[in-house]
């Protein structure tokens, strides 16, 4: 694989949209160039092109400032800022209700083992597509930042399982990839592909 291909491959969908957004020109030639090289993003590129056009046309129109939302955003951000180095990492699965977890499982359409892969920190969060991390964080009512912070620590024992083995239960020693977790939980091939798709 040559360097150009490697670069191309590494460009996430989010990066493609951002790169298109910050192009100096958004004329037909630019749009066509992106449509040609990223046909799977055609709808998004066209939407974005129009969004930018309409925003420019609306420049100068005053929008009422929602100060309550601004303050709420600031409070939320402050809460994610480490106040001191030893700040405790919150376990979002501890506070999530069983209904939350069931709803999350249904939203993603996965067996409960997959959710457990998150709550036991078995899965390496770096291998999970961003949209899934986003969905899980929302599902357990936390921020993506807090979920990631929680997931960074090593695997731990599931708290709500009874072990029938003679051996003392032990937490997994190493994390596994998201794909391996899906295989382990017997998620069907096509569903697995859908979940692994990088949509950003």
């Amino acid at each position: 694989m040559d360097q150009a291909m490697i670069n191309h491959k590494q460009l996430s969908d989010e990066d493609v949209l951002l790169a298109f957004a910050v192009e100096p020109e958004h004329d037909r030639a630019t749009l066509e160039r992106y449509l040609k090289s990223h046909p799977h993003l055609a709808d998004d590129l066209i939407d974005l092109s129009l969004d930018m056009r309409l925003r420019r046309a609306g420049d100068g129109a005053s929008t009422p400032v929602d100060e309550a939302w601004i303050e709420e955003s600031w409070a939320a951000f402050q809460a994610t800022m480490p106040t001191d180095a030893g700040a405790a990492v919150v376990d979002p699965f501890e506070t999530a209700s069983s209904e939350d977890l069931v709803a999350l499982r249904r939203t993603l359409g996965v067996p409960s083992g997959v959710i457990q892969g998150f709550s036991t920190r078995l899965v390496d969060i770096a291998t999970v597509p961003a949209w899934i991390v986003d969905a899980v964080a929302r599902g357990v009512r936390t921020s993506v930042g807090d979920l990631r912070a929680f997931m960074t620590a090593g695997p731990r024992l599931a708290t709500d399982l009874s072990y029938k083995s003679d051996e003392a239960p032990a937490a997994a020693t190493a994390k596994i990839t998201f794909e391996a977790l899906l295989v382990q939980c017997r998620v069907k091939d096509d569903k697995r592909r859908e979940l692994l798709e990088d949509r950003d």
Partner: protein, 269 residues
Amino acid sequence: MGTNVPPLTKQKPDGTTYTRREDVEDALERLVGLPRSEIIAALEILDVRSPLYVQSECIVHLIRATRSDNDQAYFGELYRELMRRITAVLPRVEGERGGTSENVHAADARDRVRDLFNEKVSVDRNMAGSDLDYYEVMFADAIAALRKTAMRRATRSAARSERIETDDDGSESSLAVERAVGSLDLKQELLSEDPIYRSRVIAAIQALPDKQRRVIEMILQEMPIDSSDESVMTIRKIIGVSSEKTVRNRRDAAFDTIRQALGIGSGDD
């Protein structure tokens, strides 16, 4: 003039590095030399034409530059202003559009954009990266792209019943009368001197169904509807339909709706 502003590091796929606009570089050179109290005071300037107005790209840079300090108050002022800039560039969701599939997701787009942006700011504060560079190049457009990403994620994580759109040749209706589409020049309408009229044109376009809106953008880009030359990129090929009639139908339906929204006679009345 010695530069106190480190260059961006994000690379384009061709290996070149992104750069800030010249006006942003100049403003940053000036801003980084100012006491923080003066920067905070400058954030109060709302007139974008004022030479002292702090561009959003500069605020992104200033917020990143606070990585290693503990001045919460200063950071807080920059952060709040950045949030105001985000809301100012996001499209407002019209109430009557609430029922359409896209706008169910657009309704909380603002929160999602903020959450994604917060994550990027947090990551950048922990370790200097290049992901926020786009926002120093062209803030408003980068936020538009982030909104698109947020909406894609929302669509992915919601239970989706919709599938890829089908060719709607079959639904070609005799109601879709071919008419002189040239009589409505949307480009001109969007350039109207009257900001209230402009905002009505914008709202009318935003309210169109996705399929029609996309055709409108490609027409505004002056892409051909169809071509016998296989190498030419056409609207028909991009939206993946077999008949150019489908494209024309969508265009005509869109123009019809826009005309009605703007109270321009369409001949249907």
